[in-house]
């Protein structure tokens, strides 16, 4: 599967581990003491990678509390391409942020394989975001001061100490170039985001999300800011990543036609999941 993208075979030398890492191995790479917070529930269906149970989240605006998520249950199976659709403001982005440990739920739990991750310490969640999740956003969110290549390398720099990064910088750069090549940006390595088109920026963002070989790719309206054909290109990249690398993808969109590209679609309405 990975040969088709031509990435993993060489990239594995950098991490020395390939795709088979679980959250437990990711966290123990940090060298810190690691403890499973509670035993894995037996009820979980086989192959469920990310399980959200009763997620509640509300925002406070002055004195009035606005509930956004009112008990969302969601299972993301390993290797599936799941799309979450819903109207603007229904809480789908919030759900995605919670899934990606960027935000913490007011109530409920989040289970990654057999590890509860919503109540981990900040440094462990940083580590999870760096190694286990890849994220792409509607507005690409590339760092404007860095070139495309440096943007792609940013997660590696963040995840590794200066000395370690410097020792392997050539390998890292080669890998980043391959990824940019894969998304069709080999001619834009030294360009700043301001010199690139929206589609190019989003493709660079995908390359950045993939550099640390994540298990789950979280995409927040990846096509929301692109025209139809460019959006389709981005979508096809995601689809091929899912097909050829068995990458689990959770994509949030308000556009039903985009959502149809996914294996499975979950509709979010008024803070609750409507299964389609």
């Amino acid at each position: 599967m990975s040969e088709a993208l031509g990435v993993r075979s060489q990239g594995s030398g950098v991490r020395g581990q390939g795709s088979g890492h679980t959250p437990a191995t990711v966290l123990s790479q940090n060298g810190k003491a690691y403890r499973v917070d509670r035993p894995a529930p037996a009820s979980q269906a086989a192959g469920v990678q990310l399980a959200a149970r009763g997620i509640m989240k509300s925002y406070r605006k002055g004195s009035c509390v606005i509930p956004v998520l009112r008990g969302v249950d969601l299972d993301v199976r390993a290797g599936e391409f799941l799309s979450i659709v819903g109207q603007s403001g229904c809480g789908k982005s919030t759900l995605l942020h919670i899934l990606g440990t960027l935000d913490q739920p007011d109530a409920g739990s989040l289970q990654l394989s057999d590890l509860r991750i919503d109540n981990l310490s900040a440094s462990r969640r940083n580590l999870l975001r760096n190694r286990y999740f890849g994220m792409i956003f509607q507005f690409y969110h590339l760092l404007p001061e860095l070139t495309a290549l440096e943007n792609v390398l940013a997660p590696v720099m963040i995840g590794q100490g200066m000395v370690r990064y410097w020792a392997n910088r050539r390998q890292h750069k080669d890998r980043a170039r391959e990824l940019l090549d894969m998304v069709g940006l080999s001619h834009r390595l030294k360009h700043r985001p301001s010199e690139m088109s929206g589609g190019e920026m989003q493709r660079a963002a995908i390359a950045r999300a993939l550099i640390n070989e994540p298990e789950v790719l979280l995409a927040d309206e990846p096509t929301g800011n692109l025209d139809h054909s460019t959006g389709q290109e981005v979508l096809s990249i995601l689809r091929s990543l899912n097909r050829q690398r068995q990458l689990t993808i959770v994509m949030v969109t308000h556009d039903d036609s985009i959502a149809e590209g996914a294996d499975r679609c979950v509709r979010l309405k008024a803070g609750l999941v409507e299964h389609v």
Binding site: T94, N126, L128, R131, M135, L143, M157
Partner: protein, 517 residues
């Protein structure tokens, strides 16, 4: 790694932040310049003060002084002899200096110091301030020389301005005056009506008082050298403070009211009670210029024994001569205050006042020190103001970078990592600011006189008037430790000012930061 990379990129792309550190640069520069000038100034002043004063001055309260210098000297040697490098006795008396300029008398209030030239040079560097090269190297300073007085300031660092009027000073001047006097008398003799002439032929150069001289002498003064008044032999020598007999014009050149070779009159009190004023004629043999205007315009030196005789400072019982002060020079490593305290403990304070040269000029030295510290506080406040500038601009940059901070957090960056980006940014800016301030400050100090002259040319105002301090150049001393403190303080302020924005950046919630538009 990303921290350094981003910090570097922020430095390269945000020149507005450099504007905020220009104030740090200026503050550091000003502090370096001010401290260098102040320490140069105070060092120069201490050298001048110390040049004329001995290390420790042991003096009586009254003008009568104390008899038996030998006994006192032996006692002092007994107490602190191991630390003494030289000792000399002197007589200090307030006096009035009178001299004629263009036929009119000029009076100056002075302190006359009777010194023993042999021993006095062992306690004070006074000799190096004299204007005749021979006097500086050990000739009798109270004997008039043939010409050769410095026509230019011999002290190092002084501006070269020719001194008009010193070219004929010395014995040559005396001969000229004598000739003029003779011509005048000759002419008067010729033109005087026969009836007014004294009976019988009388040569004024043979003997007897000369009418002019006699008129000048009042109150029945003992002028034992009167007979030699119109020969080129001299009266007892006197060394005048430079500023007593000269004044400095706006052009920096000195104009002399009296030069070596001229005679002056000194009026001073006798030793008895009540003191009577007596006058005596002295011949100016040299000037001394310590460049400390307080001394140069107040002190005159005469031979000790002459002054003692003229004042009658003789103990009637023993016949020993009295002195009013003992000057002590210590060995270079001796502790001034310890020696002073030991002497104070052994001699009754109601009879003797014992002080170090620092005590004598204590208020002046303390004032300079206080000025320096107040200036430092004020200037450091300038850097603190600059710190608030950094704070404001950094907050702006953090706000501008809010979304990027969210992105970094979503990629797994820790709080510490985000914080260190902005801290490193602040430290780099602080370092650049301090470095530029250091270089500019040192350059300013190096070329301070050129800068001064340029400002004077541009504005037409005199920035540094040499007649006030008798400095021709602005003195500067660069003290490495002071500079280290300044740089350290400025860096600390830059770091403190970047801590708050960096903390704020680190504490941003990733989701809110990502949403920020």
């Amino acid at each position: 790694m990303y921290k350094l990379l981003l910090c570097w990129r922020y430095l390269r792309t945000r020149y507005i932040a450099l504007a905020s550190i220009i104030s740090v640069t200026l503050g550091v520069m000003t502090m370096i310049v001010v401290n260098s000038v102040m320490s140069g100034f105070s060092n120069e002043m201490q050298t001048r003060i110390h040049g004329i004063l001995s290390d420790i001055v042991f003096e009586s309260h009254g003008l009568e002084g104390f008899p038996d210098y030998q006994w006192h000297a032996a006692r002092i040697h007994e107490l602190v002899g191991d630390r003494i490098a030289g000792m000399s006795c002197t007589v200090h008396v307030p006096a009035m200096l009178n001299f004629q300029v263009g036929g009119r008398w000029v009076h100056r209030q002075v302190t006359v110091i009777g010194i023993d030239p042999e021993t006095y040079s062992t306690v004070s560097d006074c000799r190096q301030f004299l204007q005749h090269p021979k006097n500086r190297t050990g000739a009798d300073i109270f004997t008039l020389h043939e010409g050769g007085y410095d026509q230019q300031d011999h002290l190092p660092g002084a501006r070269i301005v020719a001194r008009q009027g010193l070219e004929n000073a010395g014995l040559e001047r005396r001969r000229q005056m004598l000739k003029r006097e003779r011509d005048l008398l000759e002419m008067r003799k010729r033109t005087m009506p026969q009836a007014l002439r004294p009976a019988g032929p009388r040569d004024p150069f043979e003997a007897g008082p000369i009418p002019n001289e006699a008129a000048a002498d009042d109150q029945g003064v003992v002028v034992k050298h009167e007979a030699e008044a119109l020969s080129d032999a001299q009266f007892p020598g006197i060394v005048l403070g430079y500023a007593l007999a000269s004044f400095r014009g706006r052009d920096g050149a000195d104009y002399f009211l009296s030069v070596p070779g001229d005679d002056v009159k000194l009026t001073f009190p006798t030793a008895g009670t009540p003191p009577k004023a007596v006058s005596a004629t002295f011949t100016v043999t040299d000037f001394y210029e310590s460049k400390m205007s307080e001394y140069d315009s107040a002190f005159v030196f005469v031979p000790l024994s002459t002054l003692q005789d003229m004042r009658g400072m003789i103990d009637p019982q023993t016949g020993a001569k009295c002195v009013t002060a003992i000057q002590i020079r210590l060995k270079p490593d001796a502790d001034l205050n310890a020696v002073r305290d030991k002497l104070r403990a052994s001699f009754p304070a109601e009879l003797y006042s014992i002080s170090t040269w620092r005590d004598k000029q204590g208020p002046l030295l303390a004032a300079v020190e206080m000025e320096t510290s107040i200036l430092n506080i004020l200037l450091f406040l300038i850097i603190a103001v600059a710190g608030f500038g950094i704070l404001a601009i950094f907050f702006m940059i953090v706000v501008e970078k809010t979304r990027d901070i969210g992105v970094l957090k979503s990629l797994g960056a820790s709080r510490g990592g985000i914080m260190s980006i902005f801290l490193a940014y602040g430290v780099s800016l602080g370092t650049v600011g301090c470095g530029a301030g250091l270089v500019l400050g040192l350059l300013f100090v190096r070329y301070i006189d050129e800068i001064r002259r340029m400002i004077e040319r541009l504005t037409g105002h005199e920035v540094f008037d040499p007649t006030i301090y008798y400095f021709q150049e602005i003195p500067t001393i660069i003290e490495p430790w002071t500079i280290a403190w300044i740089i350290g303080g400025a860096l600390l302020i830059a770091i403190l000012a970047s801590v708050l924005p960096a903390r704020r950046a680190a504490q941003l919630h990733p989701v809110e930061a990502l949403r920020y538009e």
